[in-house]
Symmetry: C2
Subunit: 377 residues, 2 copies
């Protein structure tokens, strides 16, 4: 019988962060696509758009006027999905299968830069450092508010990913509950941290050296960055690695994380780690845009310690098992107009992908780190 | 403080089938939508399209010619995500965080009807009965094949849901593993079946009467259909109920299930239950089309006993806790061109919805069961 070839034979991989399987069907990339084509993701935007409600000096849909901000600008979402306390308590559930719990919080919109046309891929590294500083500030401020249990930083980029304004911006939703996915990840990290890794027959990583307990993500990043061949690594710098994870669902999904030491949250980053973070964010997003010569759509989200550790906190808490990381989930599959639909089987049964993570990483490795529009200028 | 109003105050609900939370932010429906508009979902298709690879007598992309079929027609997917055995075994995992397992199976395409323009919403009930018969046949045939652990029946309808051909058809993917979501549901059903419901303080349902063990879905359907007001029920007939579940994620999500007795799979259905199944499928899909006067896009999937019980099997097995049900996950939110994007917060943190399940059910209850195109004819 033939030798197993992961780029030919269907197989299933396992995501140890979410405990979910992924069906990999690499031979499917050969099929012709007769379905929906995505409209062009234009990169040709004006520097200032008088009709944009995020540009400096313009009026927002809520009626307020934006200041003439110089770098980032954060404001309360005019249509927030979470509202501040006090909120009335829901009644006791009428049936154990129909439970309801109150939730409170706040939603911030973070404009990345005054320029309407400059996405992360086109901003200077020093501008990205300002965004990281602003993420850190919001994480600390929101995370210290009474009752807040989780601060979710994310960006929806591109109309295809539900973004309603191309002016580069992200969001932060902070809430009084630990949401489903971060809760699942925290549980996996905690379980791993309590397991006795020395008993396993696996090659030993370096976890334990920088942290009192074994860390799943320290270990994973270590293994990926120290293998003889590094088939899933897209790029790394002195502190960070961007890779297509073994268990990637989206075609060009990326997991971006610090690999040198256990970093729980934005608050743990040194000044040089912030600079190298900005550097890798810039390079990853440039490669993304260059992959299909378009403004590459994605959702991006940051997972870290649910809220900052309180000052003076001495003991290692369960929440310290968190390891700062970012997920990029971009939908495009073959070119700027053909996306992967996660529907049908994926919604009803399990995630499925058409090219291997190793093939995706190889394509991203082949991309330039000079933005394709900068060649034209 | 104000009284709690689920259609005003953000809250979280819990899905006992998947153990996931849903953030409900009903006040969000008020926000203006400036994002992507969906192209019209035309219902004006020809009865026969010479270029369609699913129409009778036409040539498929794989080169085969379709017969001149009269009702349903099933064939092996020309670009199957799962391949039949034998397949070479993957090597032993090099690291416990990077595991791989082999998977085998087959993918069927099921054309619903020779007419290119007749979706479930426009087919006669007797034609839908034929589809149910065909689902049953495939479930039995595939489910009896060596090594098959799960038979997933589903339909992607509409370009918006990744469907590449408007000729009405569904798919069946059968595989040698229990996929992530059905596995999760089975686990929840099993756990519930072993819990001692008599100890709970909840109002008592009828579970236990028709089945040896308590069934989460029997109980849930019973409670929803016997409440004084039935805020989430869209419609029911003598055997089946269609409701917007307490824990719905998609704006007009529907859970469709038999509520009179515990039915494990398509194989358990009596002839009259098949007829009433076809009847409710017809009515649900007509209401969907009428909601926004368009051919309503969705993914639909059937969950049941992973494979049929083998003949002569006497003991109640763990798999008998399965209760046949269908999920409909349609993306449209406000009208035929504005969809809900499950991105950003939803991908990184947890599901979020903008209108309550009760509001969605009310809108679907207000829809006619005469298809809007039949008014025109
Ligand atoms: O098999 P099809 O219809 O070509 O493809 C469609 O359904 C599949 C199963 O849900 C998905 O994996 C694809 O992304 C989708 O486009
Ligand atoms: O808040 P926005 O950008 O208007 O809305 C976008 O992001 C939200 C958070 O991920 C989603 O719930 C919306 O569906 C999406 O359109």
């Amino acid at each position: 019988m033939a030798h197993f070839d992961p780029s030919t034979h269907p197989h299933r991989r396992f995501n140890p962060l979410t405990n979910e399987h992924i069906l990999v069907s690499p031979h499917r990339t050969k099929r012709p696509w007769l379905g929906q084509m995505e409209p062009p993701q234009s990169s040709n935007l004006p520097q200032y758009d008088p009709k944009c409600y995020l540009c400096p000096g313009n009026i927002r849909s809520g009626g307020q006027t934006n200041p003439n901000y110089d770098n980032t600008f954060t404001f309360d979402n005019d249509f927030a999905a979470l509202l501040p306390p006090p909120a009335p308590s829901p009644p006791v559930a009428t049936h154990p299968l129909m439970t309801v719990e109150p939730v409170q919080g706040g939603c911030d919109v973070l404009i990345f830069h005054p320029r309407h046309d400059l996405t992360l891929a086109r901003l200077k590294v020093e501008d990205i450092i300002r965004i990281i500083e602003e993420w850190t500030r919001i994480y600390v401020v929101r995370g210290s508010q009474e009752g807040i249990k989780y601060v979710q930083i994310f960006e929806n980029k591109g109309a295809m990913m539900g973004c309603s304004n191309p002016h580069p911006h992200g969001q932060v939703w902070s809430l009084s509950a630990l949401p489903t996915l971060p809760a699942m990840e925290m549980e996996s990290l905690l379980k791993y941290s309590m397991s006795d890794q020395t008993e396993s027959s696996a090659p030993r990583g370096f976890q334990g050296t920088f942290h009192r307990r074994p860390c799943l993500l320290c270990e994973y990043a270590h293994v990926e960055t120290t293998m003889p061949e590094k088939p899933r690594v897209v790029l790394k710098n002195k502190d960070w690695v961007a890779l297509v994870p073994w268990w990637a669902v989206w075609p060009f999904e990326i997991l971006l994380l610090p690999y040198k030491r256990h970093i729980r949250s934005l608050c743990d980053l040194t000044a040089t780690e912030k600079t190298s973070f900005a550097d890798i964010l810039s390079k990853v997003t440039k490669r993304y845009d260059n992959l299909f010569s378009c403004s590459f759509a994605y959702s991006m989200g940051l997972h870290q310690r649910p809220v900052p550790s309180s000052p003076g906190e001495e003991t290692v808490e369960d929440e310290d098992v968190a390891h700062l990381h970012l997920h990029f989930t971009p939908p495009l599959l073959r070119d700027a107009s053909v996306r992967k639909f996660l529907v049908g089987f994926e919604l009803m049964a399990e995630a499925q992908r058409d090219l291997t993570p190793e093939q995706a990483a190889e394509k991203l490795r082949a991309c330039s780190e000079v933005h394709y529009l900068d060649h034209i200028d």
